[in-house]
Each structure stands twice: as structure tokens, then as C-alpha cells.
């Protein structure tokens, strides 16, 4: 079987802080594999049987190779980077279109296509569903559990007010809600094997995508304006070294 996992390189948002003017300080924040995508990859690695292939793909700039390299280190078998200047400025629609063409042309035999629930840098979680529709296949979002079920698969989805189990037909798109995770570490042996695996880079022309299907031109939404908004409150500080006094003060404020 072939499992395809769509991943993304994002800034490590746990390290992002906000400066006095309310702007995000992004400088010096390392770029990492999106944690939700990593969950998705972990879910697949847990299912993998001998003979299965795990393919990872990302649409991004050249430095996104680093996250593909990490996916190979922790157990993926092959990696693709969809990179082209024309992909810049893509919204959800253009991203999903680019990924859908990749699937159709390069991995049409995909048994399952798996994404993280949303990307940590403010993505909206829309790509999996749009990707599924563009491929004309079933979708299962908010997956909390993925298991083999004979020759097929079973998922548990969490809709908030309902949890349900469904059988998954081959060729579906899944988006995986986060799970608890102690992130995997490769062995030295696996690391060395992964360094020898190639990352295939594909551009727009190689994917046979039209210029108006990708990037800014292929987007269906546009950001008209954005601004920082911070409610900086009064920010008083109270010395709470004495818990009794601090509790009394707190009680007064209620």
C-alpha cells in the first residue's frame, strides 16, 4: 500500500512572542515540521506493514526540504518537494489544486492521503476537504484514531458532540486531529539510511500545472488588509510572596 502524507514547514509557534507594539516577533524562530502534520505521519508509521510505502510531500520554498528530511529520518520512504516561484501567495484553493495534481500525476495509487488537522501557523484546516473534492474522493476530518480493519481501515472521528467510527474506502483523504505525542527519535542507523534517500523536487511545469492554477493567480481569496490588534491591559503587578495576603487581595478583586 502507499500512504501519502502532506506536510508543511512552519515557524515554531510555541516560541513566538509579541513585542510592545503588539507585533509578532518572528525573527530567530526556528522552522519546524508542523506538529499536526507530524501527528499525521506518526499515525501512518504506526500502520505501516512491510512492503508499504510512505510518501511525504510538501508545497513550499527550497528550505522546506529540511522538514522532508526529518520525515525521512523518522521513517518515511520517499519525499517530494513541490517548489516553484509561481506557487508563492497560494491560498487554500491553489494549494489544494497543486497537491491534487501531484496526487493524480505522481501517486495515483495512494491508498490513503493524510494531512494534519490544520497548520500551526494560522492555516485554516481547509486543505484536506478541498483536496478530497478536487480528487473526487471521500474525506474524513477530525480523525482521532486510525486502525487497520482487515484489508481496509477504520477511523474514529470527533465532532465535538459526537464521536463516530467509519470504515474508510481506499483512496480517501484523512485529516488527523492532534494526539498526545512524545516525538519519535530516529536511531543513528535510520538517520544514516535517510541521508541517502533522495528528495525529488518538482516545479510547476513538471507537474503540468497551468500558471493560473497556482499561487496568487490561482487563489480564490485575497487578503485585503491586516493589522496587529492587542488589548494591552492595565498590567498591575502585586507582590504575592505572602499567600494569605495575596489570596485576600484576590478575593477583594472578585
Amino acid at each position: 500500500m502507499r500512504f501519502v502524507v502532506a506536510v508543511k514547514q512552519v515557524p515554531d509557534t510555541t516560541l513566538i512572542r509579541v513585542d510592545e507594539h503588539g507585533s509578532l516577533i518572528r525573527q530567530g524562530i526556528p522552522a519546524i515540521l508542523d506538529p499536526y502534520a507530524e501527528h499525521a505521519l506518526e499515525a501512518v508509521l504506526g500502520l505501516k506493514k512491510p512492503g508499504d510505502t510512505v510518501t511525504v510531500v510538501t508545497m513550499g520554498p527550497p528550505q522546506a526540504e529540511a522538514v522532508l528530511r526529518r520525515c525521512l529520518e523518522i521513517g518515511a520512504d520517499e519525499a517530494y518537494l513541490l517548489a516553484d516561484a509561481a506557487f508563492a501567495g497560494a491560498d487554500v484553493h491553489a494549494t489544494a489544486k497543486t497537491l491534487s495534481v501531484f496526487v493524480k500525476r505522481v501517486v495515483p495509487d495512494a491508498t490513503l492521503i493524510i494531512c494534519g488537522k490544520q497548520a500551526a501557523d494560522g492555516d485554516t484546516g481547509e486543505v484536506p476537504a478541498e483536496l478530497a473534492q478536487m480528487l473526487g474522493i471521500s474525506q474524513f476530518c477530525y480523525v482521532t484514531q486510525l486502525k487497520r480493519n482487515g484489508d481496509g481501515f477504520l477511523v474514529t472521528q470527533d465532532y465535538g458532540d459526537e464521536q463516530r467510527d467509519c470504515r474508510v474506502p481506499a483512496g480517501s483523504v484523512l485529516s488527523v486531529a492532534e494526539g498526545d505525542l512524545n516525538r519519535r527519535l530516529p536511531s543513528i542507523k535510520r538517520y544514516l539510511e535517510a541521508t541517502a534517500l533522495p528528495i525529488t523536487v518538482l516545479n510547476r511545469v513538471q507537474l503540468m500545472l497551468g500558471a493560473y492554477s497556482v499561487g496568487l493567480k490561482g487563489s480564490r481569496t485575497k487578503i485585503v488588509e491586516s493589522h496587529a490588534v492587542r488589548t494591552v491591559r492595565t498590567g498591575k503587578i502585586f507582590d504575592g510572596t505572602d499567600p494569605v495576603k495575596a489570596a485576600a487581595h484576590l478575593k477583594e478583586m472578585l
Binding site: 507585533s23 487554500v92 489544494a96 485554516t124 478541498e130 480564490r220 505572602d242 499567600p243 478575593k251
Partner: protein, 354 residues
């Protein structure tokens, strides 16, 4: 291989009509006739199967009615059990309700729902299609957008209209950035964050038309089991007026003390992501970007450092008071007051004095 292979885009820069060059100008077809708003009315069902309209759907209807006076269309999926809801649906402003009448569509079927909504949208030609940004809405909306080859803005916290153009606002990066987005074509789509708009006052004598729509496809899920999950009213942190929130800076033994304090204050205990990861609390108690957005009158944060993701969930809190050992904790940037001290000790003392 289809439209995605077009390299020249001569047929249209703005819209994908697929028409020969020149035709747009000749027949003035670039003037879209799209008008009105189509809203997916999410129906929630309890263990007995009794349906009720999701709150966020009501909130959206209220806002749409208040925004302008274009036609309001609704689409709902189900069967005869929906009849008792018609009165409420019309009283909230729906003029024409499309009911996709099929028992098989009582459970949520995103592929079938999307096909149906898209077909109805082709018939109705709305200027906008709106859904609540519940998990189901967020799964369904993008599929419809892809079917209709249009743009969707997810999880909006603001919606304004100029003529027929929607200006959608959504937060990014933990609510510190607010982006205003427009779609490049019709229909414009958005999912709206629950709690963004107030619940409207119903118009008691409103009338409307129901049109049954037949679903002719066969995209059905193979559902093996379904388990309703109920969150008790006293455990719903999104409804609480007072929240006692615990973070990684408190000991596990403080949890019952926090619960006691919450009871005495008429509130609920919430937590940061770390405590859910540790298994101390279920995910329903998590505040933040990957948890819930809360809007209490008072948010008491004990031992919470205040990461960007956590702060995203409390921007709507009226007052924020934090207790933390670290005077430089990031939560201090949004607090009305930061008490620098031992969170466990102060929580215990607070319990004693209440």
C-alpha cells in the same frame, strides 16, 4: 487534463467562466447576477434523535438579517423530524428553506451534503454561502468551495458587507493579527466562529417556503458506530462566567482545590494544553488556539505562563487576573493584574477565605 492545465488563462483573469474571448464584453456576462445569502443550518441531534438548530446557525441568521435585506435561503438535511423546526427557522429570517429530504442524510455526510449544497447554489445563485465553524461546518465548507471553484474564509470573527461584497475578518497567530479577506468571485463563502454574533430575537409571525430537494447521488459513509458526547452545562468552559484556569505551574494536588474555588464562585475549571497532554484534564477543558475560545467575566489563571496559543483563547475575557511565580510571564501582557507568587499556595488560601 482539465482546466488546471490552462497555461494562458485567456478565458478569464477574475472568474472561471470558460467562455471564448470577447464574449464577456458582448453579452455583459461579467456582471454576476448572484444575490442573496445561503446558510447551511446545522442540526444537532440528541441521543433520542430529537433535532435542534445549532446555536451558531441561529447566530449567523441573526447577523445576516441585521447586515442587509437581501434574500435569505437556508439548506437543511433530514426528514420529517425536521418539521417542528420550521417555525423557528422562518422566525429567524429564512425566506426559502431547501430541505434535502432523505433519511440517509440524517447522519452527517460531507460528500453528499456538499453535492447538494452546490446544486442548490447553482439554482439559487447566492452572493454568499455561510456555515458555522463547528467541526462539521469546517469539514463541509471547503468541500463545497472546491465544488463551486470559489474561495472560503474559515473561522471568521467578523463579517461586513458592502453592496454584495463580503469583507470577512479572521484572526491569525493567536488573535494578535486580524486579517480582512475578500473572495475573488461568487459565491463568497465563509465559516463563522460560534459565539461571534449574538443570538437574535425571533420574529414570531414570519412565514417562509420549504422546497424539498432530492439527493440523487450515492456518496454515503459506512458508519459503524456513533456515540453522542454531552458536555454538562457546568463543564462547558465556553459558557462559564468565571473560569479558574490551571497551567503547568501548579501541582496536580491543586485540582480539587481549584474545583472547590470554582464551585464557590459559580464557575468552572479550565486548563492549558499542557495539562491535557499530561492527562489531568479532558480536551474539553482546554483553553487556547487548539482548544476553546472562552469569554468569561473573570479569568483566573494559576500557573499559566501565557503562550501565544493560550492567549488566543482568552481575548474575549472581560477581566484577566493571573497568579504566577515569574514576574516576566507572558500572560502578564494581557492581565488586569499579575500576582507574583506561589500559585498552589495562593489558590489554597483563596479556597480558605471564600
Amino acid at each position: 487534463m482539465g482546466c488546471e492545465s490552462c497555461a494562458s488563462g485567456t478565458c478569464s483573469l477574475e472568474k472561471k467562466d470558460g467562455l471564448p474571448p470577447g464574449m464577456l464584453e458582448q453579452y455583459r456576462l461579467s456582471q454576476s447576477r448572484a444575490d442573496g445569502t445561503l446558510i447551511w443550518l446545522e442540526v444537532q441531534r440528541d441521543a433520542a434523535g430529537t433535532p435542534r438548530l445549532a446555536e451558531v446557525s441561529r447566530e449567523i441568521l441573526g447577523h445576516v438579517k441585521a447586515m442587509d435585506d437581501s434574500r435569505v435561503y437556508g439548506v437543511v438535511f433530514g426528514h420529517n423530524e425536521l418539521k417542528p423546526l420550521y417555525g423557528e427557522i422562518f422566525s429567524l429570517g429564512v425566506e426559502t428553506l431547501y430541505e434535502v429530504h432523505d433519511r440517509r442524510l440524517i447522519p452527517f455526510q460531507p460528500e453528499a451534503y456538499a453535492e447538494s449544497i452546490a446544486q442548490i447554489a447553482v439554482r439559487v445563485e447566492p452572493a454568499a454561502i455561510l456555515l458555522g465553524a463547528t467541526p462539521r461546518g469546517r469539514e463541509l465548507g471547503p468541500r463545497v468551495a472546491a465544488l463551486l471553484d470559489t474561495g472560503l474564509t474559515a473561522d471568521c470573527t467578523g463579517l461586513a458587507v458592502e453592496g454584495r461584497i463580503l469583507r470577512m475578518t479572521r484572526p491569525a497567530f493567536g488573535g494578535n493579527l486580524l486579517a480582512t479577506i475578500e473572495c475573488t468571485g461568487f459565491p463568497q463563502m465563509a465559516t463563522i466562529r460560534p459565539g461571534t454574533f449574538p443570538l437574535p430575537a425571533p420574529q414570531p409571525d414570519a412565514e417562509g417556503t420549504v422546497i424539498y430537494w432530492q439527493y440523487c447521488g450515492n456518496s454515503f459513509k459506512d458508519i459503524v458506530a456513533s456515540r453522542p458526547v454531552t458536555v454538562g452545562a457546568d463543564q462547558d468552559i465556553t459558557k462559564a462566567k468565571v473560569l479558574v484556569a490551571l497551567g503547568a505551574g501548579v501541582k496536580r494536588s491543586s485540582i480539587p482545590i481549584a474545583e472547590s474555588v470554582a464551585r464557590k464562585l459559580g464557575g468552572t475549571v479550565a486548563c492549558s494544553r499542557k495539562l491535557v497532554e499530561l492527562g489531568w484534564f479532558p480536551a474539553s477543558r482546554q483553553v487556547g488556539q487548539s482548544g476553546k475560545n472562552v469569554a468569561p467575566d473573570i479569568y483566573l489563571a494559576f500557573g499559566i505562563s501565557g503562550s501565544v496559543q493560550h492567549l488566543a483563547g482568552i481575548t474575549a475575557a472581560k477581566r484577566i487576573i493571573a497568579v504566577n511565580r515569574d514576574p516576566g510571564a507572558q500572560i502578564g501582557e494581557v492581565t488586569d493584574e499579575l500576582i507574583v507568587g506561589d500559585a498552589d499556595a495562593i489558590l489554597a488560601e483563596l479556597d480558605k477565605t471564600l
